[in-house]
């Protein structure tokens, strides 16, 4: 797996996690009384998703779908961590186990190249 591919996948996963985080901030109405209206979070989230479309195309211009799509499931772990650190949501042991299993699966798929 080349550095370019790894970078593109990392950026794509980051876009996904940031996009969801911005949507959550919008849904929570963060900044209602300040200069950042909640709808701005949603707008930023949408922009991030548009950027992600092209990054993802960059990934698929290089890698097979059966390598790229499974690795992109790292976004579930990213969203889980953000929920924990930023939104103080409780993560159960079963969820941590799930994250570990996803991680093992991603490593296995990444080892098969791309």
């Amino acid at each position: 797996m080349t550095l370019e591919l790894l970078t593109l996948i990392a950026v794509s996963v980051a876009c996904d996690v940031f996009g969801q985080t911005f949507f959550k901030l919008g849904a929570l109405g963060v900044g209602k009384s300040s200069i950042v209206p909640p709808s701005l979070w949603v707008a930023i989230g949408l922009v991030v998703y548009v950027v992600e479309i092209f990054v993802w195309l960059g990934v698929l211009a290089i890698a097979p779908l059966t390598v790229a799509a499974p690795i992109a499931s790292l976004n579930y772990i990213g969203v889980m961590l953000v929920s924990r650190w930023l939104f103080s949501e409780r993560i159960t042991r079963r969820q941590w186990a799930g994250a570990g299993i996803v991680m093992l699966g991603v490593i296995a798929v990444a080892l098969t190249g791309g």
């Binding site: 479309i53 960059g58 097979p64 499974p70 499931s73 579930y76 799930g98 296995a108 798929v109």
Partner: protein, 137 residues
């Protein structure tokens, strides 16, 4: 859980399985369309030129339209289906996507890759198994 208008739909398995079928078929088609678009851009260095080249490809627009439609479909599903079950759908999509990529793009699925994908499906279901549907909406 209090009965709300949306909960009535939850009790209707026929409409939910229809939703599942539509979502899984659509999500699979969209992912395959993205791969089609990606292979259309093979060899193209990533950057501004890549984006310009991408916007000129019908395959890219097919994928984008599929993506936008899926986004709206997903929001609709979240209104009718509990979140933990909705995420089972997204995990299951890996199966037809893998089969589709093998059939259409001739991608080879080694044992290790197959096991990895199966593990990811299990892991994704576990991660999302304890989310309450109320939190998301």
């Amino acid at each position: 859980m209090a009965k709300k208008p949306d909960d009535a739909l939850r009790g209707a398995p026929r409409s939910e399985s229809l939703l599942w079928t539509i979502f899984i078929a659509f999500a699979t088609a969209t992912q395959l369309a993205f791969k089609w678009a990606g292979s259309d851009l093979e060899g193209q260095e990533f950057g501004l030129g890549f984006v310009v080249a991408a916007l000129a490809k019908p395959s890219v627009w097919t994928a984008i339209v599929g993506y936008a439609t899926m986004f709206m479909l997903w929001i609709n599903i979240l209104r009718r289906v509990p979140l933990s079950r909705a995420f089972v759908m997204t995990a299951i999509v890996y199966v037809p996507v893998t089969i589709g990529a093998w059939l259409i793009f001739d991608e080879q699925i080694s044992a290790l890759r197959g096991i990895g994908i199966a593990a990811i499906i299990v892991g994704v279901v576990l991660i999302n198994s304890e989310t309450s549907g109320r939190e998301a909406s």
